[in-house]
Structure formats: structure tokens, C-alpha cells
């Protein structure tokens, strides 16, 4: 049985804001399925009572002093903007309220 279906690939692609052609989706589903099959090897590893590693080196939390740096020149901030109006970035209109602001 497949580890990942074509539908799931499309769902995940939507989450990642990628659009795939039918051919690409088919191929990705196949490749991802084989990769997921390969990673099944981890199921055999006994990890009971083993803490997950999210950071390899034990470190103290570095804290930054609360001093405001000078703001980046807006012209520099906007220099790479594909579209701008004044000092604002411009994007195509949002169709629906996609996410909380």
C-alpha cells in the first residue's frame, strides 16, 4: 500500500504553495512514496524513553539587550522588491481573508 497518495501530494503541495502538473504530481507521488518506504527503517529503532534532539550543543539561551538599532534605510529594504508603491511592498489582492493579521 502506498505511503503517500496522489491526493496527499496535492494537499501537501497546496500547503507549500507549489502547483504541480499532473505529470509532476504523479512522479512526485511515486518518488516520495519510495523515499517514505525507505525511511520505514526507523520504525525498527527502539526509541522508548529517548528524548528528541532539537539542539545538538548544550547552550544557554542567548539574550539580546533591548536597544533599538537604527532602522534599515527604506530604500535598501525595498531595493529588491518585485513591486512597490512608495515604501510599501505591493502584492496582488488577497481574495479571501486567508489568515489572521
Amino acid at each position: 500500500m502506498a505511503h503517500i497518495t496522489r491526493d496527499e501530494v496535492e494537499r501537501v503541495a497546496a500547503l507549500a504553495r507549489l502547483s504541480l502538473t499532473d505529470e509532476e504530481a504523479e512522479r512526485m507521488a511515486d518518488e516520495l512514496d519510495r523515499i517514505l518506504e525507505f525511511v520505514q527503517v526507523l520504525e525498527q529503532v527502539d526509541t522508548e524513553d529517548v528524548e528528541p534532539t532539537s539542539h545538538v550543543m548544550p547552550l544557554r539561551t542567548p539574550l539580546r539587550e533591548d536597544r533599538a538599532a537604527e532602522s534599515l534605510d527604506p530604500e535598501l529594504a525595498l531595493a529588491n522588491a518585485p513591486a512597490r508603491e512608495g515604501t510599501a511592498f505591493v502584492v496582488p489582492k488577497v481574495i479571501e481573508a486567508e489568515e489572521e493579521g
Binding site: 500547503l15 504553495r17 532539537s54 539542539h55 547552550l59 544557554r60 539561551t61 542567548p62 539574550l63 539580546r64 539587550e65 533591548d66 536597544r67 533599538a68 538599532a69 537604527e70 532602522s71 534599515l72 527604506p74 529594504a77 525595498l78 513591486a83 508603491e85 512608495g86 515604501t87 510599501a88 511592498f89 505591493v90 502584492v91 496582488p92 489582492k93 488577497v94 479571501e96 481573508a97 486567508e98 489568515e99 489572521e100 493579521g101
Partner: protein
Amino acid sequence: MSQPPHPDYEVVIGLEVHCQLRTQSKLFSPAPVTYGDEPNHSTHPVCLALPGVLPVLNGRAVELAIRAALATHCKVHPHSVFARKNYFYPDLPKGYQISQYEDPIATGGWIDIGVEEDGELVTRRIGLTRIHMEEDAGKSIHAAAVAGSDSTHIDLNRAGVPLLEIVSEPDLRSPAEAGAYLRTLRQLLRYIEVSDADMEKGNFRCDANLSLRPHGTTELGTRTELKNLNSFRFVEAALEAEIERQADLLDEGGRVRQATLAYDANTHRTRELRIKEDAQDYRYFPDPDLIPLQLSDAQIERERGALPELAGPKRKRFQESFGLSEYDARLLTESRALADFFEAAAQAHGQFKTVANWVLRDVLQALGEQELEIERAAITPESLAALIRLVDVGRTTARSARSLVPELVERGGDPEVLVRERGLEVVSDTGLLESTVDEVLAAFPDNVEKYRAGEQKLVNFLIGQVMKRTQGKADPVTVREILARKLAESS
């Protein structure tokens, strides 16, 4: 409850508040925290999410978060984790928000609110589920104003600003309680100087969750979420509208479905923004660019030591130690700055009730008229005390002194000097007063007749006339004596 919000259903409300922390720089970026700037004038590579940037945690934000947690009786966790909340939106430059998910900095506190029950003020304890730190997103400005425009403008000044998310348990039982909770929370945050908590400036935002259930049951109904609530009144009105909507739906035998709604003040109705079928898949995972936050006992205790006396205890102390009424104490402790001003002035003067009257009546009025907060006013506690003392020793009249308060509030100054310069010193030259009284008695013979015929109240009119002729500078006590003597004389 004096009047339950709905006869047939119990109302269950939980509130999620996001407040902006009072820091100079952003949470993970050293860019300045500003307000009202031109778009993208407060940015830095980090909050622009340029390729290659990394977050570094603002230590002050951590201190303020600890303080807020302690003030609300939460458990502060010595170990908490920053997690990425992944979603796409143009005002979220990294494509994820750094927040806290499984391991927040604080859980399990409470806030006491005062609610009216059968005409009495009763205390209810509202539980807090958690408090955590996260960064704010930027602003999307839908350029509908520009004719024919199909675009949205993105301003990242606000992106990365430090927020505290405070989540209440679903313990609130009415829109009024929700309002009380918000007001109390806001006051608390201002008292401990963690946030300016100004809803109008957008640094105190509220989302509400509401569900209904039949009275006497314990299972929670399906809840809806109300967003974009811009003021306390809005919150209460929106909750009322949603209660009505849900109740109507349930009455008809329908089912409430999970959704996010907005409130339309014009129609006083709520409408669906989108349907929450499943929760959005945010794919939370611990942020690998940040080390988990480890707090020492010393850090936590330092913040505990920095907590000021809170409104509730201060109110009690004002009542018990200074003999003020509950009402007056409540007004005086509305803000910490006002309470501190009052207390300093009262200490300087010595008579707490007297000073309370002056503050509540004259100072507050002047502040209101000048649209100032006490922090911005020029008047000092010492100068108010000095002003009142001038009245106490008879150097000037209460009326004259009161007229000086607005100026002191606006420009400050030495009351002694002002009284002299404005010629407000009491006229106690008895010779002048005697002749003025004579003038008045001569000018109003009818009233004198009536007075002697028994209308004792008319003496006030006569005193008023004397005050008028002396531009209010006569000492009213002396005037009353002279009048009384003279009126008695010729009868």
C-alpha cells in the same frame, strides 16, 4: 447573575488577548518598535526575512513576560520552547511566525474581576490557561481606496514586534463579564508597565470564543470565534449579537458549526468570515534557530521583586489606611500613575480625604478637558499639596485655588507665586470688607427686608454679591461674620 444574558442557555466565553510588550526593539530583531511611521521605516534584515538572517531573543521581552505571568498568578516555567507556526501570508515575511506552542512560558493563572450581581459588586475569578510570547505580523493594507486597484500594500514596521498572548479559560458567563475581564486585564498590564494596552493603537487585541449550552449541563457546545474586535464596547456588542444568533439557531433545532466571524456594528449582527473545518495545519515544530528558554530562579524572583502594588491591594489600602470610600478608592487607583500622584500629594499635604477630593474633582476635570494623562501633566504632587495648604491657611479662597488647577496641570508652576501674580490673595482687610458689605446692603434693600422677615437663605445671595464686588477674593468666612453682624445691627 442579576440578569443572565440568555434565559434558556448558559453562555460560555473565553478570550484571547494579544498585547504588545513595552520594549525598544522587536522580539527577535533589533529594529525599533515605533508607531505610525511611514511603511517600512522600522525594519532590519531580520524582520524583513532576508535570506540568511537569524533571530536573537530580546531579554527585556522575557522580563516583561515573566512579570505578567507572576502578576496573574501563573506558574512560570523554567524551560519553554519557541516554535514555528507555518503559514503563508504577505505580512508574515518568513512564512512562519515564531511563537510558543507545546511549552509556553507560563500556564495556569487567574484574574479576579468585579461583576454586578443583584445590585452588588461581586468578585469572580477567571482562570488563565496560558501566557506565551510571540512575534507580531506586519500590516496588509488593502488598497481599495485607489481606484481600480487590485493590490494590497504590505508594511512590515509591525512585523516582529513582541506580543504576549494571554488565553483565558472559558470561565466568562456574559458579555458584561467579558468587558470587565478586558478592563481589568488592561489595567493590570498598565500597572505593571508590561504593555500600554491601548486598543485604539492596536497594541491590545482581543479574539473571543463563544458557545452556548443548556443551563445545568457541563459539556461544552460548539464554539465560534469572533475576530477584529476593536473596542471593549464592540466586544460586548459582538458577543450579544452572537449569543442571539446561536440561540436562534439552537431554538430552531439547528447546530452551530465552527466558524470564524466578524461583527457588523451597523446591523448588530455577526457574519461568517470562513468556516473552520479543521484547524489550519500550522506544522508546529521547535525553532532550530533558537535555544529553548531556560529561566533561573534568580531571574524569576527578580521580576517578582519588581512587581508594584497592584490595583486591588492598593484600593484596599486606600480604603483601610486613608479612610476613603470604595468608590473614591476605585477611581484613584484606576491608573498607577494617578494613584501614585494622589498618594504623594496626600503625603505632602497630610489630609488624605481632602486631597482625594481635589484630585477626583479638580485635577481629573482639568486632565479630561486637556485630554491628558496624569503622566503627561505638568502638575506635581507637591504643587497640589502646596495649593491646598494656601486655602487651609486662608491665603486664598477655595474658589480661587480651584481656578488655578487647569494652569498647573497644563504648565506647572509654583502655586504661591501664581496666587500672588494673579492677585488671588484673599482680601481680609476688614475695612474694605465692611464698606463692601455696606454697599451691598444698600444696593439690595428688598432682600435685606426679606432676610429680616425670616428668609435666612438670602444671606448667601448677599455673600455672593460681596464676592462679586471683590472678584471672589474676599474671605467668605469673614464676609459672613460681617454681614451677620450688620444685618443683626439694624434690625
